[in-house]
Each structure stands twice: as C-alpha cells, then as structure tokens.
C-alpha cells in the first residue's frame, strides 16, 4: 500500500491518451463540482490516482484541483466521495460530454 497521493508516471501523458477521444464541451456548465472542506479528505486526494482520466490533480499546499476536460463520466469519483460530500455529481446536459466512437 502506498501513502503518496501523487499519480505515478504512466507510460504516456494523459493528454496524449485522451486526445483521440471525442467530447462535446458544455462551456461554463461543469457536471462535477467540488464542495470544498477546510482540508481535502483522503478520499478526495485518492482521486488523483483513481480517476481514469486524470481529472484530479494535486496543486500547491496539497490541495486537489478538478479539471473535467477528459472526463469519461464513469462515476468513480462520485462513488469514492459519496460519504465525504465533497463532490456534486450529475450527468452533463443531454448530448454534451464524452461521445464514444467505438465504446
């Protein structure tokens, strides 16, 4: 078991991994938002590693930041943080978000 919340270096940068995916971005209407607490919970920090699209990153002073650019709407972060209440999760408006070409 590791204690670090930094994502390990993968074989490929996340942007490269995701850049062939197709997204219809709903500007200004993120479908996942953070409800910040004074200190980020361990669950929230763990998303730096658990989110398959690398949407959660660690920034200064150990805080977690969310950028939904590559989000595949899998729901992992919603389930992981259900108890802490730090994540407000809904589906994007109809038609927006990821659009799989092959699935």
């Amino acid at each position: 078991m590791t204690t670090s919340h930094d994502a390990p270096k993968p074989a490929q940068r996340m942007e490269e991994r995701l850049y062939k995916n197709r997204y219809l971005v709903d500007e200004g209407r993120p479908h996942v938002t953070l409800r910040r607490r004074a200190i980020d919970s361990d669950e929230l920090k763990s998303l730096v590693r658990l989110c398959p699209a690398g949407c959660y990153t660690k920034v200064e002073r150990g805080r977690v930041e969310l950028s939904l650019d590559g989000c595949m709407e899998c729901g992992t972060c919603r389930i992981v943080c259900q108890a802490t209440g730090e994540i407000e999760w809904s589906y994007p408006r109809g038609g927006f978000g990821v659009a799989f070409k092959f699935g």
Binding site: M1, T2, L50, P52, G54, G75, I79, G94, G103
Partner: protein, 435 residues
C-alpha cells in the same frame, strides 16, 4: 397536462432497447429517452455479443447488425510478469450458419439496435438527460423530469435501463447507492491494425473469424480483476478492470495496469504498431445476486446494469441486459393486454419471470464468488506464478532427471501457498463458490 405514454424507458443501451422494442412491438405507446448524442455514445463493452439473447428479439439480426467477427477461438491466459500459461479452444464448429458469439463495437451496435426500436414504433429522443422520477401524492411513479424545458412526461410505467451509474433510480430512492466492493472500474483501448494483421497475428481465416482472450493473474496486480483482448475486424479491444474497492486499497491507477498489460511480452507483439483511436473507462456491476436491488414497484421497473445484472464469472452482461429488458417489456405488455395496472403487486410478475430464467439461476449459482475472491486475493496471484514456475521446470531440458523435476514442481507449488493444506482449502473454496 402533456402527452401520456404507456411506458417511458430511460436509456438506450441493450436493456432499455430490449424493453422498448418488446413494448413497441406489442403496440404500446412507448417513449425512450437517451442522454447521449446518439444511442451508444456513452456506452462501453469488451465487447462480446451473445447471439441467443438478441436473436429472441430480432431473429434476422445477423443480416443487419454491425457485427465485427464471430468467435471461433477462446483463449484463457494466466499471466505472471514475463509468461503466460494458456488454454485455447478453437473449433470449426463455430463456423456455423448462426454463430453463438460475436465481437462488436458498442457505439455503432447500439445505434443500430436503437433504430430497430424506432422502426417498431417507439418514440425516441436523444440528447436528453432524465433528471428525476415524478410521483403522485400516493408515491406512485407517474413519469419523469428531463433537462429539456417543458413539463414532465407522464406514463403508466417507467422502465429504468440507465446502466450501472444510474442516478435517477438512486435519487428517487428506488435503488441503493453503489458500494465500491460491488463495482469494477474498467479501462479499455481500441487499437487499430490492418485487417490482414489481425488475421495473421491470430491465425484467422478471413475477415469474419475472431479470437477472444480472457487474461488473469498479474494483469490485475493482486486485485480482484481480469483483462481481455478481443479481435474486431480491423482493431483490437484491449482492457482491464478490477474492483473499485481494490483500486482504493492499492492506489494503482487503472491506466497504469492497462499500460503494463499492453507491454507484457505475451501481449505486446499482438498489438505492435497498432494505433489507439480511443481510450475509455466505465464501471461494471460485480455484486452478483446479493446486490440485486428491488426490481419493481408502483409504476417502475429496473432492467440491466442498473439492477446489477452481470455474471462476472462468465463475463456476461449485455445478454442479461437484453433478457431482463425483454422480460420487463413482456410483463408490462401482458398487464396492458389484460387491462391490469402497473402497480407493485402486478409488476412482481417481472421478478417471477426472471426467477424462471437463466438470469437468476446463474446469478444464484455464483452468489458466493464475489465474497470468496474478495477474501482470497492470493488465488489470483500465487497460482499463476506457481503454474508458470512449474511449466518452466517441466519444459527446460538440462541434466536434472525427470523425477527430481517432478519433486521440484510439487514443492514449488506447495511453497507458493505455504503448504498443501492451503492448496486444499483454496480448491475447496473455489469449488463451493462455483457449485
């Protein structure tokens, strides 16, 4: 009051499509709502399609559906870090008129399936997310709210085919929140090669034959999970999934597992020079029989992944989605025909029909498996390594005599599990979970 429907179906995956198709064919006034830009735009599967479940709905599907390859060979590979031990089964019998399994790509397959639902007479709207169930004063479900402007949409029954991460049912309290032990997170790439390369690398005769490989052992890094590699016409679907609770424990990112699998010496040559054109992630229900929620109530029913209908031991999900969708659709159609209400008591017929079908029988058979695997992770690591060691001892030719080799193999096996007693109890546990 806005238009009233006999049934509203949430979702255009295999479960929702099957339910909507059956009800529309029976002459019901059906509205189907899908949040994707098209049906399939949000959906992920390996993907093996099991023909039987679809054939019961659309007998002529082989002539029309976008199918990739029919499966002529199944491989099961146990990986350790540098090796694989495998069982292969290929038969020319699988080159039959009506093959039993195909590979598909869900984005195109779901669009085709949804078009069949429209042809049958259902009204379908895409680009629309259902946000809530609407209830009357008595608590009966009478329709849905969507994110489009306008009044709620009303129906006698709402069929929830919203998939594993279904928020509508959860918000309405008709199904519980997901437990990280009851879902797997899977990631997958679609890797393009030429048609000839797929055929050469997998020893396939022509553009229709396909191979599927299920991968266990080191791919899941000690977590409960598996990998897969399936041949499409001119691409490879390669993915890996493990229980979310195990990812939480190990903190290994899913894409790191995927990269490790892709670079494994037994797998890398199969995808060499391929071009990844998509990377996707999705959850898979893994809770089995004991995680199935209430399946119906006053004015509502749940079908497919939303009801945890996946048989993970056999990697079946889409067929359970189609079968649960069909049985729910048939139940509603029968109630309508008999002039009966879609209330809690009458919709119990759906659960009853499921109990009679392979769906519940199979899920019941494997109800212990999730628990056994969860509590015995060594089954997934110790044995692949021990088997690999034994194979090497057996195959390397040197000056050690065969009897000594056999003794060494046995002791390696025993050592892998710290004694024969443990090997024995492992076998017993697995046998009971499989019984």
């Amino acid at each position: 009051m806005s238009e009233h429907f006999d049934a509203i179906v949430v979702g255009a995956g295999p479960a929702g499509n099957s339910a909507a198709l059956v009800m529309a064919k029976a002459g019901l006034k059906v509205l189907q709502i899908e949040r994707g830009e098209t049906a399939g735009a949000k959906n992920v599967q390996g993907a093996i399609l099991y023909a039987d479940a679809l054939e019961r709905l659309i007998p002529e599907f082989r002539d029309e559906a976008p199918l990739e390859r029919h499966v002529v060979e199944q491989r099961v590979w146990l990986l350790d870090e540098r090796s694989h031990t495998g069982a292969h089964y290929r038969s020319d019998d699988f080159n039959e008129d009506r093959p039993n399994r195909y590979t598909i790509l869900r984005a195109t397959f779901d669009q085709w399936f949804a078009a069949k639902v429209r042809e049958a007479g259902a009204l379908q709207i895409t680009d629309t997310t259902v946000t809530e169930l609407v209830r009357d004063e008595g608590g009966r479900v009478i329709g849905v709210e969507t994110d489009r402007d306008g009044a709620p949409l009303y129906a006698d029954v709402v069929v929830l085919g919203e998939g594993v991460n279904g928020l509508v049912g959860q918000r309405a309290g008709v199904r519980p929140e997901l437990d990280p032990q009851h879902v797997a997170l899977a990631v997958k790439e679609t890797i393009f090669l030429s048609e000839e390369a797929v055929q050469d690398r997998f020893n396939l005769d022509g553009e229709d034959e396909g191979v599927v490989i299920e991968v266990m052992g080191s791919v899941s890094a000690g977590m409960v999970g598996t990998g897969f590699l399936y041949t499409n016409r001119e691409s490879i679907s390669l993915g890996v999934g493990c229980l979310l609770s195990d990812f939480q424990e190990t903190q290994i990112p899913a894409y790191v597992l995927l990269d490790r699998m892709k670079s494994h010496p037994s797998i890398a040559p199969l995808i060499r020079d391929g071009e990844t054109k998509e990377y996707v992630a999705h959850l898979i229900p893994e809770g089995g029989y004991d995680a199935i929620p209430n399946l119906s109530g006053d004015g509502w029913a749940i079908v497919g992944d939303a009801g945890q209908f996946v048989n993970s031991a056999h990697r079946e999900g889409s067929n359970l989605a189609m079968t649960t969708g069909r049985l729910a659709g048939e139940t509603v159609a029968a109630l309508k025909r008999e002039g009966l209400a879609c209330n809690e008591a009458n919709l119990k017929r759906y659960r009853h029909a499921l109990e009679q079908s392979f769906v519940m029988k199979d899920l019941k058979k494997y109800r212990r498996l999730p628990g056994v695997l969860h509590g015995n992770k060594h089954l997934l690591t110790a044995y692949p390594r021990a088997i690999s060691q034994a194979m090497q001892t057996f195959l390397r030719v040197d000056d050690v005599d065969k009897r000594s080799k056999e003794r060494r193999m046995m002791s390696q096996f025993r050592a892998a599990r710290g004694g024969w007693w443990n090997v024995f109890t492992d076998a017993l546990k697995m046998a009971r979970a499989w019984r």
